[in-house]
């Protein structure tokens, strides 16, 4: 009996002591260390003054699966990351606190807020973001005597430049084009095509989409572009690091990889080429902080969310070269004006968020499964197993079935 009393007392005391301990669940990788430094150097003092502290719990492996498990088991953190591609699904669980009236969303980039808005209600504040940009290998362009890509390039002039570099050597290609909508989609958007039309359907047989697929896959069939796996690489960055391709179409995440794998690579970064619509297309990849609706410390959690997305915190993260801020006011940060390749790349990626047809990397409640039929079609066309028309007709059929099931 005494033990029971002690246990209950202990529990009560423990509960009191931990009242302001906010748990954050997010990605593994660098994020745990970034959070520790943010807490130590930037936001810890002001939070501590209010009696709040936080712990960071990285979810390793498949983040989305782990988060859904934690949400259903009731062990999810007070704050958790909401990846943009699964945001509609996570919000649909009803476990995310609506932030209207609790957090001022005006200071953040509109398209980022939009990606986390469902039926007019905001559920997440973007932590940082990425878009695609053209990173080019200066040595290869110089050797081939071809002008490096620039912001005025159209699809045609861009392809011509790639052809020029590809002619240099047998093992040099213009670009690595993966058979995946997660990169190709940006080109589809450059035609004015959208993932979902007004009726909520996806039309893969739209002439615009067909045009984009034809342009993208023709470059591969012509031998100017190549799939990464064909030269023993897992992704575009790998092709780029080994001097095999003239350009890599990736976000700012390629910078850390290049620092490790090709520290001497001379590269520059510019905007995506202008598509047939006269606009560029781009994806917005992002992740947001959301607050758990069941959180026992909701106010403290909101306070931590505010601190993590505060101008000071975002400026620190930017100046450390760790991520690109989601606040519009940081557009003028001196870091973006520096002359280093990394700073230029970050500035281009930042500006990509509202340049042309930019759509979130998002597929409604269907999630990333949406891409499977399209990716299969791209593989079939690139490897010559199927014509553009036949492959897209089949993809449309599979996709319709998928959307039907999801409803």
């Amino acid at each position: 009996m005494r033990q029971i009393v002690i246990a209950i007392l202990g529990l009560a005391l423990l509960g009191g002591a931990l009242a302001q301990q906010v748990r954050i669940m997010g990605y593994g990788g660098q994020d745990p260390a970034i959070k520790v430094r943010l807490l130590d150097e930037v936001i810890g003092a002001s939070l501590e003054a209010e009696g709040i502290t936080f712990t960071y719990e990285p979810l390793e492996g498949d983040y989305n699966a782990a988060l859904f498990n934690a949400l259903s088991a009731g062990t999810a953190g007070d704050i958790f990351y909401i990846p943009v591609e699964t945001a509609p699904g996570i919000i649909a669980t009803g476990k995310v606190l609506p932030l209207d009236g609790l957090i001022d969303t005006n200071a953040f980039i509109d398209s980022l807020v939009e990606a986390y808005t469902v039926d007019g209600t905001v559920y997440g504040i973007a932590k940082d973001f990425n878009t695609l940009a053209i990173h080019y290998n200066i040595d290869l362009f110089e050797e081939a005597g071809v002008e490096v890509p620039n912001a005025e390039d159209t699809w045609e002039s861009f392809a011509d430049k790639l052809r020029g570099v590809a002619a240099l050597d047998a093992d040099v290609y213009g670009a690595c084009f993966p058979a995946g909508f997660d990169r190709f989609g940006a080109f589809a958007f450059a035609t004015g095509w959208q993932t979902f039309d007004a009726t909520g359907a996806s039309n893969l047989l739209d002439p615009d989409f067909v045009e984009a697929v034809t342009w993208y896959t023709d470059l591969v069939r012509e031998g100017v572009a190549i799939q990464p796996s064909d030269i023993g690489q897992g992704w575009t960055g790998g092709c780029f690091a080994t001097d095999n391709v003239a350009v890599a179409i990736e976000g700012a995440w390629i910078l850390g990889f290049l620092r490790n794998e090709a520290p001497n690579l001379q590269f520059g970064t510019t905007f995506m080429p202008i598509g047939p619509s006269g606009e560029r297309g781009n994806f917005l990849y992002t992740v947001a902080y959301g607050v758990n609706v069941d959180s026992p410390h909701r106010d403290a959690a909101l306070r931590v969310l505010e601190a993590l997305t505060s101008p000071e915190a975002q400026q620190w993260v930017l100046e450390q070269g760790l991520a690109i801020p989601s606040r519009t006011e940081l557009a003028d940060n001196p870091f973006f004006l520096e002359d280093t390749p990394e700073a230029v790349a970050n500035a281009v990626v930042f500006a990509g968020a509202d340049d042309g047809n930019v759509l979130g990397f998002q597929f409604g409640t269907i999630g990333t499964d949406w891409m499977t039929p399209v990716n299969d079609a791209l593989v079939a066309i690139m490897t010559g197993q199927s014509s553009v028309e036949a492959a897209l007709t089949e993809a449309q059929r599979d996709l319709d079935a998928l959307i039907q099931r999801a409803r």
Binding site: L11, G28, P32, E60, D139, E143, G232, G256, N260, L265
Partner: protein, 479 residues
């Protein structure tokens, strides 16, 4: 039928026997070749992974087994350079007072102008892991390149047969010195950039990679020391994988957790399985058959069916009455998730182990126990002093199988141990490498970690092979 009626001549006889012998050998040869083939198929990947784990870039394509880390010339150079850099021939470094001599040689075809290469100690920041986030010291801030001089040229030709290029070997020597006072830095990177046409041949230490289409020879660390060079990825696993808050080496903590988990799981499994096995084999009581069936049944139900209920039991601290949880009696008032105790608790009961022990006890002659019974021994006494000592082979086999199971267990640790990092076991910890290092193409740490995690099981297998086989036969036959 000829053989039956007409006696074969000696010569024919001999030829026939010879043919038979050849056929026997051919058969044996085929079987051995097959077994050798299987062995290569199964051991090959392990060997390849082990060798790749030594490389700077394990994913380098095309894959090869001839790697600089296995060349003795590089070992002595690494030791010498480590000594010059920080008076440490094993792990190297770059300390005040260091003077590091270095040479690099190029092949220059006739007709190509030789221009002195540019030697730089770069400010190189890691792309992944803690190094990318925490503030670090750069060797570039303390190092200076001195005395770059051209050594005498040596004429040489490259290529073979019809296609040869004549030219000369152009070599340069220089020193990298530590200027003034400062901290000891663990690595000294170096970039040497030559003009187009000059081809890198060799250097004191083989270049980590050639970049810019062969123009730049890039070195991750020119003062590595032998171990720092050959086992670079292994050293990094211990040095770089640290808790961001306390800077404690996580890899060591995970190994410790794995051993603790395996040890207690063995103890608990042996105790429960031997007692249950003994009871089911020897004691006559009502419902014995039913209990045995239930034990077997629990083996038949897939883990996935039970795991949600077991998870909830752990999460809620077994039994909850109001604010009271049963697990608070042993110090876990808030449930037993994220504790090794919880993990041991949920994985302790193993129907397979009970079955092995029951089968073994049944194989021990009853007479042995009857003799003890006549001397007045109780059930407990008979179990503990008579049967258990005889069960040593079975317990040995069970220990090994349990250790192997616990050491490699992924599913339950993954479910139960999520936070903090210091509570994880080795397989779960290694998973975090994929996000941290795999994402930026740095697969060396993952391979090194995986190879190290395989070592205890390999040692165990080599030392206790016999018990493994017995373990299998206990489960199978009733002998």
């Amino acid at each position: 039928m000829r053989a039956a009626t007409v006696a074969p001549t000696t010569a024919e006889q001999r030829a026939f026997e010879h043919w038979q012998a050849r056929r026997r050998w051919a058969r044996a040869g085929l079987v051995y070749a097959l077994m050798l083939g299987f062995a290569i198929i199964f051991v090959g990947p392990l060997l390849f992974a082990t060798i790749s784990s030594l490389r700077t870039d394990p994913l380098a394509y095309p894959p090869t087994l001839a790697i600089p880390q296995l060349q003795p010339g590089n070992w002595t150079a690494a030791a010498r350079l480590g000594q010059a850099g920080a008076r440490d021939r094993w792990f190297g470094g770059f300390a005040p007072g260091a003077v590091v001599p270095f040479e690099i040689a190029y092949f220059v075809p006739d007709g190509i102008e030789v221009i002195e290469p540019e030697v730089v100690v770069p400010r190189r920041r890691p792309g992944a892991g803690l190094g990318a986030v925490l503030a670090i010291e750069f060797a570039a801030d303390y190092a200076e390149v001195y005395d770059l001089r051209r050594l005498p040229d040596v004429p040489m030709t490259v290529g073979d047969g019809d296609l040869t290029i004549s030219g000369r070997r152009v070599a340069y020597a220089f020193e990298v010195r530590y200027l003034g006072e400062g901290p000891e830095i663990d690595r000294l990177p170096l970039d040497v950039t030559a003009t187009v046409g000059m081809r890198y041949l060799e250097s004191t230490l083989t270049a980590s990679r050639l970049e810019r289409r062969g123009r730049t020879a890039s070195f991750d660390n020119i003062t590595p020391g032998v171990l720092g060079y050959v086992l670079r990825n292994y050293v990094r696993t211990f040095n770089e994988v640290r808790s961001p808050a306390t800077l404690q080496s996580l890899f060591l903590v995970w190994i410790g957790n794995s051993f603790t988990f395996a040890f207690f799981r063995i103890v608990v499994t042996l105790a429960i399985a031997s007692m249950a096995g003994y009871a089911l084999a020897r004691l006559r009581f009502r419902g014995r058959g039913l209990i045995f069936m239930l034990v077997l049944f629990s083996q038949m139900v897939p883990l996935q069916v039970l795991f949600i209920s077991n998870y909830l039991v752990l999460r809620d601290g077994i039994v909850t009455v109001g604010d009271f949880t049963l697990s608070s009696l042993w110090g876990y008032p808030g449930g037993m998730l994220n504790s090794l105790t919880g993990l041991i608790f949920v994985t302790a009961l193993n129907a397979g182990a009970v079955f092995i022990m029951k089968q073994f006890f049944e194989s021990i002659p009853r007479e042995v126990e009857e003799a003890a019974m006549i001397d007045g021994a109780s059930h407990w006494r008979r179990y503990w002093s008579v049967v258990m000592p005889m069960a040593r082979p079975a317990l040995g086999a069970l220990t090994i199988l349990t250790f192997q199971g616990a050491w490699n267990d992924f599913f339950w640790p993954f479910i139960v141990l999520t936070s903090p990092e210091t509570i994880k076991t080795l397989p779960i910890g290694l998973l975090s490498f994929r996000n941290t290092y795999g994402a930026v193409g740095d697969w060396g740490l993952i391979l090194a970690g995986a190879v190290m995690s395989a070592i205890p099981v390999i040692i165990l297998f080599i030392v206790f092979q016999r018990y493994f086989l017995e373990g299998v036969s206990f489960g199978g036959g009733k002998e």
